[in-house]
């Protein structure tokens, strides 16, 4: 039996909790006790939790000395990532909505006018 030393503890905690989070997400999707957008949000939250676990226990971001440049650049990267991903999804979903409802441009106009309740 391998003895876990004090220094190995953060890695062990990180490893076990990451494994549990991965298996939870996997089981939820495979068993489909519930599905749709709710399930999507739940597994995204599980992924973000695992991100937090690994950043703290594997990358040791919480144990940095002042000035915390690693933390600052990490937060900046998170901001850019969110802008790129959410911004792309927002723009492209909207663009998709404004295209291709029927073959002709005026059919799309009619669809949007109706869909947004501009004219009944």
């Amino acid at each position: 039996m391998i003895k876990i030393t004090k220094k190995q503890r953060p890695y062990t905690v990180g490893f076990i909790s990451s494994a549990i989070l991965t298996l939870t997400a996997y089981t939820l999707v495979v068993n489909t006790t519930f599905s749709g957008w709710a399930l999507l949000y739940v597994i995204l939250v599980l992924a973000v939790m695992q991100l937090a676990v690994q950043v703290l226990f594997f990358l040791h971001l919480g144990r940095e000395e002042k000035p915390r440049w690693k933390l600052v650049s990490f937060l900046f990267a998170v901001m850019v990532v969110l802008i790129v991903v959410l911004g792309s999804l927002w723009i492209m979903t909207n663009l998709n909505y404004r295209h291709d409802h029927g073959g002709l441009p005026n059919e799309t106009d009619e669809f949007i006018i109706h869909d947004e309740g501009i004219r009944q």
């Binding site: 990451s18 999507l40 995204l44 991100l51 990358l59 990490f74 990267a77 850019v80 991903v85 999804l89």
Partner: protein, 192 residues
Amino acid sequence: MNEAAKNDSKNLLGFWIYIMTDCVLFASLFATFAVLRNNTFGGPTGAELFSLPFVLVETMLLLTSSFTCGLGLLAARQKEKTQVLGWFAVTFVLGLSFLTMELTEFNHLVNEGHSWTANGFLSSFFTLVGTHGLHITIGLLWMIVMMLQVAKRGLGRHTVRRLTLLSLFWHFLDIVWIFIFTIVYLTGAIQL
């Protein structure tokens, strides 16, 4: 802090900033995938193409390799040469198994006619997962170089510093994989 430790900490910050820019690279690939995920051009969707148990094994291999890599770094800080070589060898084998599984999956998809030329969804899938696989390949090559250095020169200050950067890189690749696993594979299987 003495001069040497100061230089090491600057070195570490520089590498950390490189990793953060790599995050942005992956973010743009994730955004592309998220936008194109339904554009299958009449072809099969992710739910029909991917085998979840297969991907779960891949995920567990990479997670375990991230763990053993951390243990290897701890051993390096305690100047335990044999342990360092042992843990990094385990990490290497796990990483190589992961890469082999990924290439098997790619090969299988291409042989079935679902290559990156088929549709937007598959183009973005191969670009995202392939870029991660390329990083893993570079990480494995780096690991070979480091194991040779440790075996030949022992655990000097510079070697331990390089091992620290390598394990940072390796942990980062596991973090990116969490999101590939969740967004590409798990989300693909959910009926919306």
